[in-house]
């Protein structure tokens, strides 16, 4: 590797506006059913098929176009007489998905890496930004207690209130997780100010009646929130390396936008490469950390190597997939600690299982799938009295959790569980 080595340029820019990887599978199924299909077929059929899925973001017009574009680049479909038809490669992916889900996921990750280059680069960047915090990064959002009053669209004045909120947000993030937002405070705030003022000079969205601009108002919280994400993503995931200040891509188009960032987080999480949450009460914003690490070849069975995700220095990505035998005991101990933490804080016996999941994944650097299988084992252990605790898992919701319906759930035996209570039990 030379010092001037750069990542290969992506062959496709702009990731499609969807995050559920099952859409590829469903689209290819439609392709098999119809022999040849059009964009309209996809628009008609796909929403019906994914209706049953727990949470799929609303389809936008471009979602279907993006999906077709990506399937074409992956080589799973090809154009034929203005229509599309499945290729042999697409067929073999479908049969792989039916028999070996793990292998099918790896296959999709391989294709994604080849076309977008983002997966390997993104994880590498996280580790570079905060090596001591194991790649833990926060993309801040305004502190929750800020109740902003709506302002006129053109009122883009950067005042004391906004500056104060930014300072509080910055210190909150760095107090909770030191090093997780490695950007200089003053430079960050100055960028926020510029961007906030710039946004006020733009025209309102088309959906808003802007015949009289003086009647158009906006929520400063929403605007500052977008500005914070924009500016932070641009700084953290720029094309220049945070260590060397050298460009990591030869092409400026590889610059990551806030929109791409929001899509890549769930996609990379589906591949088990990272974990992210927007619901950690101590942190205003999105917390994300890798559940994978670059290493030379390792013999430890707690890692699944992905040799096609190679860094510029030749190390390749190892996804942390520990076995129950290896960390089961640690998992149970940590579960009790985390439960106690929330119990002492909230004083309620039934704690949000999603909150517990997020914290467990952070402390143990595991992905949600591993958490789900391990919590199931722990639950069975409690039923069989193999541990000195009784665990109760509930599907009900506390009043204050209703707002989080869109939050990724915890599935145990295929059932969405939302609350957990743990009590000591004498064996």
């Amino acid at each position: 590797m030379t010092n001037n080595a750069v990542w290969p340029s992506p062959t496709l820019y702009g990731v499609g506006h969807f995050t559920d990887l099952r859409l590829y599978f469903e689209a290819l199924h439609i392709a098999v059913l119809y022999d040849k299909f059009s964009l309209r077929t996809l628009q008609k059929e796909l929403p019906e098929r994914v209706k049953g899925l727990v949470f799929v973001e609303g389809f936008q017009k471009t979602t279907f176009q993006d999906l077709i574009r990506e399937l074409l680049r992956f080589g799973y479909i090809e154009k034929s007489d203005n229509l599309y038809k499945i290729t042999d490669e697409g067929q073999s992916y479908l049969s792989l998905a039916a028999t070996d889900k793990e292998a099918a996921r790896d296959e999709l990750l391989y294709k994604t890496q080849k076309v977008f280059v983002t997966p390997a680069w993104f994880i590498d960047r996280m580790w570079k930004l905060n090596p001591e915090g194991q790649g833990q990064i926060v993309v801040p959002a305004p502190i929750k207690e800020w109740k902003a009053k709506s302002r006129k669209w053109n009122d883009n004045k950067w005042d004391f209130e906004l500056e104060e909120v930014c300072k509080r947000t910055y210190s909150r993030v760095n107090n909770a997780l030191p090093g997780s937002f490695p950007i200089c405070e003053s430079s960050w705030i100055s960028q926020l100010k510029n961007e906030y003022e710039r946004k006020g000079c733009l025209l309102p969205p088309k959906s808003v009646d802007s015949s009289d601009i003086n009647n158009v108002v906006y929520n400063p919280r929403a605007r500052l929130s977008v500005v914070m994400k924009d500016v932070s993503v641009r700084s953290l995931f720029s094309i220049t390396s945070p260590n060397t200040d050298r460009r990591e891509f030869s092409n400026i188009r590889s610059q990551m936008s806030h929109r791409s960032f929001m899509i890549w987080c769930p996609r990379l999480e589906s591949f088990g490469l990272l974990f992210y949450t927007d619901y950690k009460k101590e942190i205003p914003g999105r917390l994300l950390f890798p559940t994978s690490v670059y290493k030379k070849e390792v013999t430890n069975t707690d890692y699944s190597p992905k040799i096609f995700l190679t860094r510029l220095d030749g190390d390749y990505l190892h996804v942390h997939t520990p076995s129950w035998e290896s960390i089961g005991e640690l998992f149970v101990d940590t579960l009790l600690e985390v439960y106690d933490f929330f119990y002492n804080k909230e004083g309620i016996m039934y704690i949000s299982l999603q909150d517990v999941r997020d914290e467990m994944c952070r402390i143990l650097r595991i992905n949600p799938t591993t958490f789900e299988s391990f919590i199931q084992i722990t639950y069975e252990y409690s039923l069989k009295r193999k541990i000195a605790y009784t665990i109760s898992l509930e599907t009900d919701m506390r009043q204050d959790m209703k707002k989080q319906l869109n939050r990724r759930g915890v599935y145990i035996n295929g059932i969405l569980n939302t609350l957990i209570a743990i009590k000591p039990y004498t064996l």
Binding site: K149, K152, N175, L330, I363, R365
Partner: protein, 448 residues
């Protein structure tokens, strides 16, 4: 000695003064950094106020509130995210004292005769309707010297006291012009004077029959006056007639005493707004409009009372829809682009202004010293700046930590209180604090 007769020993304060090691006669800082306006302790009653600290706010107050025909204004607390103790109450009490010291002569450049009333809502949840808020205002008026001043002015302007005697009146009205005996001793015909005052009061609908003073009968006309205007504080009475009484009769009385305006500094409006339900909030806003802007009361017509509401962004949010629905935003905007003209924005201290921290400390230290000095001993400059940093630039928090530092310094024989000692206070405090949103999250247990 029988326990029945036991009393606290009167120790010699000088001998037992543990603070003398630092050259103080008491702990220079308040134990509770909250202003108690009625307390005798200068550290607590708001007497120690560093005007330099709030120069901008004082200017905004004077420009927006005194110089204009503004009827409803706001004091917006921009530091609620950092906690309490920013100094709003101290500020309001300072403004009250400033205005009342010369009845607003200096602050209005001689154009107005003003009196300021500080009102703090009770924690009673029922006190959230306009009539009971009016009662609160009236009780605060009674607790202040407003009616003493009114009575004294009515006498002074009656034309029955000669210029020569008027010149002998001291600032203590109670023992001079308001005292029947003092006037009698100065050969003033008290009965004639009272009858003149009584006639004027009759003119505005207040019937007060003063007793006649004779050689054998000493009277206290001021007590009689006060008794006559004091109302029962029972809810029922105030709900029925309270608003009319305060906003019409009392206004007439104050105008009779030649006041041009009375300023009501209503602190902690969130105590009222938070407990109100939707219809109460609406009716509160309607009440404000009716009694302060365009109702039929004397106050609404003449704009006599000026009210300053202390709010913070949270209560602003709660009030906003009702404020607009009541049409109050046309008269006094609650936030928004034109709010600058009727709002005083209250901010935390400027972090970079180190001199201000030193000044604030000195003013408290000097209050506990025999002779004033510029020294900040036993503290070092860096210790003070560190304490201010830990206190998030909130004066209240800063003063509390200074109080603890002095107490701990005496216990532990600290000769000098430096950064290390200050940091130790905050570390031990952190340990005791519950897990809050500001705490660091637990370490990860797996290293990939």
């Amino acid at each position: 000695m029988n326990n029945l007769l036991r009393r606290v020993q009167n120790n010699n304060a000088e001998l037992n003064n543990k603070y003398s090691v630092y050259g103080f006669n008491q702990n220079p800082f308040p134990v509770d950094p909250a202003v108690k306006p009625l307390s005798d302790d200068k550290r607590e009653n708001g007497s120690i106020f560093l005007t330099d600290l709030r120069r901008d706010e004082i200017k905004e107050f004077t420009d927006n509130f005194i110089g204009k025909q503004m009827k409803i204004g706001f004091l917006m607390d921009y530091a609620t995210y950092r906690g309490r103790g920013i100094g709003k109450t101290a500020f309001l009490n300072y403004m009250k004292k400033e205005i009342n010291s010369d009845l607003g002569d200096k602050i209005s450049n001689g154009k107005e005769v003003l009196y300021a009333i500080y009102v703090s809502p009770t924690s009673e949840k029922k006190d959230r309707t306009m009539p009971l808020i009016a009662r609160n205002i009236f009780v605060s008026m009674c607790e202040s010297d407003l009616f003493l001043t009114v009575f004294s002015r009515l006498r002074a302007f009656s034309g029955k006291i000669s210029e020569q005697i008027l010149n002998q009146i001291t600032d203590d009205y109670r023992t001079t012009i308001a005292s029947d005996k003092w006037l009698y001793d100065h050969n003033v015909d008290v009965n004639h004077l009272n009858s003149e005052v009584s006639k004027k009061l009759q003119g505005i609908g207040l019937e007060i029959q003063f007793e006649d003073m004779t050689l054998f009968h000493q009277t206290n006309s001021y007590a009689k006056f006060l008794e006559s205007i004091r109302l029962s504080t029972k809810d029922y009475y105030w709900q029925k007639e309270g608003c009319d009484y305060l906003f019409s009769k009392i206004v007439r009385l104050l105008k009779l005493a030649d006041f041009t305006h009375c300023i009501i500094l209503l602190d902690e409006v969130e105590k009222i707004v938070t407990y109100q339900n939707m219809s109460e909030r609406r009716s509160f806003c309607d009440g404000l409009r009716n009694y302060f802007i365009d109702g039929t009361s004397v106050n609404a017509i003449t704009g006599f009372f000026k009210v300053m509401l202390t709010i913070h962004p949270n209560s602003q949010e709660l009030l906003m829809p009702h404020w607009k629905a009541a049409g109050l935003d046309r008269f006094s905007e609650l936030g928004g682009t034109t709010a600058n003209s009727n709002t005083v924005f209250f901010k935390p201290l400027n972090q970079d202004d180190t001199e201000m921290t030193l000044k604030l400390t000195r003013i408290y230290l000097n209050n506990a010293r025999e002779t004033e000095s510029d020294s900040i001993s036993p503290f070092t400059k860096n210790a003070l700046l560190t304490a201010m940093y830990h206190a998030d630039n909130i004066p209240g928090k800063f003063l509390k930590s200074m109080y603890i530092a002095i107490e701990k310094g005496i216990d532990k024989n600290w000769q000098t209180i430096d950064v290390e000692q200050i940091n130790s206070l905050w570390e031990s405090k952190k340990g005791k604090e519950e897990v809050s949103s500001m705490t660091e999250l637990p370490e990860t247990k797996i290293h990939l």
